[in-house]
């Protein structure tokens, strides 16, 4: 019988607890603000014998993911966490992990990339890794960070998938703020994630295999990438199935995208992560005044839920896509480019504008959300788009 306890707890603590309950065989991790309390709390579990995990205090994030790759290929369930510069440092290893089809689960505390150095929240780190072949989930709050991390294990290890998964949460905003969240009992989580049954494990010395081989020199590299593409395409159905299963157990819904007021919204904000909460707060104000506004939160970013997003937005008159990351030189931030692309084939498309906001932890004040809805209202009345890309909240 699943039992849940309500806690006043940070997002990082919820992630650490989720990881403890998923019982990884190996965790190789390097501390970096604002992920640090995840690895510190896990170290406490290790010291108290609450987990059997081999905890490897590696000397850099590159070695963290390298050791995770070795451990996963060896046949272990592997989890880790990082952020920002650490994620950037292990960039080549991200591609290697997905190319080698290893079901590693990693939490990322979304944080701005240098330079200038900044430890606060934005999505530049995670967006910089969006092409690395990992499945990517974004949490809005501590509860989602917990639920996302648990389902990540089942998604990664699914035989139709076998890809690494990133479960991300906003740096400081979600990682460090005290929030209200429900934690499931250990036994239920353990039964849900089950045991990892590896294939081609290095430690199976009776059946020796070789991992990380050279498919260059006219070898079948292209075919392996196609197989990777097939796997991430298949993962969409797996994510839905696994999330539904967990939803029935915990009583909380999960959607690749989650809409508020989208049934009849004319003006909509599309956002990722904690900012969806800010947008929703202002949306409630406007709805009370009779304005038909909505908020569409993107919870699964890879594989990108093209159809769900297009379906949700197609009836709107004007849509603002909020990007907490830049793609310098592109005509819009990463989310905008993909959302716009998702609507390309539809006969009816809303007017769309991209706002770059909150970089380096810049405060997402409610007045900024009000400004966006006001711009959208003008847009819907036929005003010109204020420029394809608007920097929201800078001097």
């Amino acid at each position: 019988m699943p039992t849940q306890k309500t806690l006043a707890v940070t997002g990082n603590t919820m992630v650490a607890e989720a990881m403890r309950q998923c019982a990884p065989d190996v965790m190789a991790a390097y501390p970096i603000t604002p992920q640090t309390t995840i690895v510190e709390e896990f170290a406490k579990y290790v010291a108290n014998g609450r987990v059997h995990t081999e905890y490897v205090t590696v000397e850099s994030e590159h070695s963290a993911m390298s050791a995770c790759v070795g451990a996963s290929a060896a046949g272990a369930r592997v989890m880790t966490a990082t952020s920002s510069q650490g994620l950037a440092l292990m960039w080549e290893e991200l591609h290697i992990a997905s190319g080698m089809r290893l079901p590693i689960v990693m939490a990322n505390a979304n944080r701005a990339l240098s330079a200038p150095i900044n430890i606060h929240c934005d999505h530049s780190d995670i967006m910089g890794a969006r092409d690395a072949g990992w499945i990517i989930l974004f949490a809005e709050d501590a509860q989602e960070a917990y639920d996302n991390t648990i389902i990540s294990v089942r998604i990664a290890e699914h035989p139709d998938v076998m890809l690494p998964v990133m479960s991300t949460l906003d740096g400081f905003i979600t990682t460090h703020s005290i929030d209200r969240a429900q934690i499931m009992d250990d036994e239920t989580v353990k039964a849900f994630v089950g045991e990892y049954k590896p294939e081609n494990a290095l430690l199976d010395t009776d059946n020796p295999v070789s991992h990380g081989n050279f498919a260059g020199l006219g070898g079948p590299y292209f075919e392996f990438k196609k197989a990777q593409r097939n796997a991430i395409d298949r993962s969409a159905a797996v994510i839905t199935a696994v999330a539904d299963e967990w939803s029935k157990i915990c009583g909380r819904p999960f959607g690749n995208v989650e809409g508020w007021g989208m049934e009849d919204a004319e003006l909509a904000i599309v956002a990722i992560g904690s900012t969806a909460g800010n947008a929703r707060h202002v949306a409630r104000e406007l709805r009370a005044q009779g304005v038909r506004v909505g908020v569409l939160k993107v919870r699964v970013f890879r594989p990108f839920p093209f159809a769900d997003i297009a379906d949700a937005l197609v009836g709107c008159k004007a849509v603002a896509v909020l990007d907490r990351a830049e793609s310098f030189g592109a005509e819009g931030g990463p989310l905008f480019l993909e959302v716009r692309s998702a609507l390309y084939d539809r006969d009816e498309r809303p007017a769309m504008v991209n706002y770059i906001y909150g970089l380096g932890g810049s405060d997402v004040k409610l007045e900024l959300m009000r400004q966006v809805y006001s711009d959208l209202s003008d847009l819907a009345d036929g005003a010109q788009v204020p420029g394809r890309l608007v920097y929201l909240g800078t001097r």
Binding site: G99, M100, R101, L102, M162, E199, N200, P208, V209, S210, H211, G212, N213, A215, P220, E223, F224, K226, A227, N230
Partner: protein, 107 residues
């Protein structure tokens, strides 16, 4: 002979390959012939050979067969004709002879 049948690999589609580019059969390069690389081949004179086994331990290609603590034959599928064995033989028991017309099959 290996159990993993790669004879039709050039026709395999993406999903026919083992996941993640894993090679599921260790040591299967034994089936890959590198003997075609050489222009000289080693020949061992059993009468001069003292069975010191130095040639065996110095061969870069694991191409000297041993059985019951004695060298027996050269593995001509893999021997690249480098001549390290001849250079290191203390008894002058190995000669390098020019490779003839009967080259082994090359993949």
């Amino acid at each position: 002979m290996s159990t993993w049948d790669i004879s039709k690999m050039s026709e395999w589609k993406a999903e026919d390959f083992p996941r993640g580019a894993v090679i599921p059969e260790a040591g299967n390069s034994k089936d890959y012939v590198t003997g075609g690389w050489r222009s000289e081949r080693p020949y061992r004179d059993d009468a001069k050979c003292t069975q010191c086994l130095l040639c065996w331990i110095y061969c870069p290609d694991s191409a000297i067969n041993v059985a019951d603590e004695k060298v027996t034959t050269f593995n001509y599928d893999h021997c690249k004709g480098c001549g390290v064995c001849k250079n290191e033989c203390p008894s002058d028991a190995i000669q390098m002879v020019p490779e003839g017309c009967e080259l082994p099959g090359v993949k």
